[in-house]
């Protein structure tokens, strides 16, 4: 139990949570860039997931990456940190469900997670493990964020000084 307690105090330490925040933010920004650059390929990948109705595919293809980008950016900068973490967790859960559905269906799938390159190899269960890892980071940030080194803290301080 002592070990568990020590571990808990480490991973909820404000500096560690800051690292989680930045890492997760960087991952989401990185994941969004290639999709923003190649909306047509990303739309094709969404189409291949066979989950969204066709009329929503294109709209998702050009908005989702930007939502990821903004959420990642806000997370790193510490703007609306809990909300950004909450949104990222929500997206990750959606991704987990989407990937699982297609693993279950046995559809040959190009994930489209980080790259829209059709040669991107399908990874199946590995993707789920990665997603759960990211989800853990998101949950940690959501519950234990102390706004360490964040813009929102800066604003709070300024308003207090007034």
């Amino acid at each position: 139990m002592k070990i568990l307690k020590a571990l808990a105090s480490i991973i909820t330490d404000k500096r560690i949570v800051l690292i989680f925040r930045v890492v997760l933010g960087v991952i989401f920004i990185y994941a969004s860039l290639d999709k923003i650059a190649h909306p047509e390929q990303f739309a094709r990948i969404i189409y291949n997931y066979k989950i969204l109705p066709p009329f929503l595919i294109n709209v998702f293809a050009f908005t989702l990456p930007w939502v990821e980008l903004i959420a990642g950016l806000f997370l790193i900068l510490g703007i609306f940190t809990e909300s950004a973490a909450f949104l990222i967790c929500l997206l990750l859960m959606v991704f987990v469900v989407a990937i699982s559905i297609n693993l279950f269906r046995g559809i040959d799938l190009n994930c489209g997670c980080f790259s829209t390159d059709p040669a991107g190899k399908k990874e199946g269960a590995n993707l789920l493990i990665k997603d759960f890892l990211f989800l853990f980071l998101g949950i940690m940030v959501f519950f234990f964020n102390k706004n360490f080194a964040s813009l929102s803290l800066l604003f709070q301080r300024k308003s207090k000084h007034k």
């Binding site: 047509e40 009329f55 595919i57 294109n58 050009f62 909300s83 949104l87 559809i107 040959d108």
Partner: protein, 172 residues
């Protein structure tokens, strides 16, 4: 120091992030030269021969699409080469009897060994999983550019073949 999470505040700001992101995506898509239509056409199509093909298939320019009946006839003639464009794992788990595996996604790696087995003048029928997949079409397009003139695509693919109870085999 904040003591507890304020749920409605968090949800409100979450909606705000989604709106900011969506708005930027919408604007970027409108001004970017690579922007796409608001609504795309993604549904599988029916060709003039009543075959179901992926939306990306172009009847006039792409390699001919064939039916299960045609594939079966060619299979019985034993002259036609069946080319499986799926991943090696899927191929090993089961494929059309006598088919050769050339995974489209790993074609750079496999082509040097597989292409010498494919005479350019022979009839080749490419297939992948079913109408949901496009590897067979993409592979057929590439092979045609390499000079394979008589290449066709069996879009019904593995699923239709299996359903029809036609000869299959497993392994390499």
């Amino acid at each position: 120091m904040r003591t507890q999470l304020n749920l409605s505040d968090i949800l409100l700001k979450t909606a705000l992030i989604i709106m900011i992101g969506s708005a930027m995506g919408l604007i970027y898509n409108a001004v970017s030269p690579g922007g796409i239509a608001l609504k795309g056409n993604w549904s599988p199509k029916i060709t003039s021969d009543s075959l179901v093909v992926p939306y990306g298939y172009e009847e006039d320019v792409d390699p001919p699409a064939i039916s299960l009946d045609y594939a079966m006839m060619k299979f019985q003639s034993r002259k036609t080469i069946f080319l499986d464009a799926r991943y090696p794992e899927d191929f090993k788990a089961g494929h059309i009897k006598g088919a050769i595996n050339l995974p489209y996604e790993e074609s750079e790696e496999y082509a040097p060994q597989v292409l010498p087995q494919l005479p350019k003048e022979e009839e080749i029928i490419a297939y992948c999983d079913g109408t949901e997949c496009e590897e067979s079409l993409l592979l057929a397009r590439e092979l045609r550019e390499l000079g394979y003139e008589d290449i066709k695509v069996f879009f019904g693919g593995w699923q239709e073949w299996l359903k029809a109870g036609l000869p299959v085999e497993t392994g390499e």
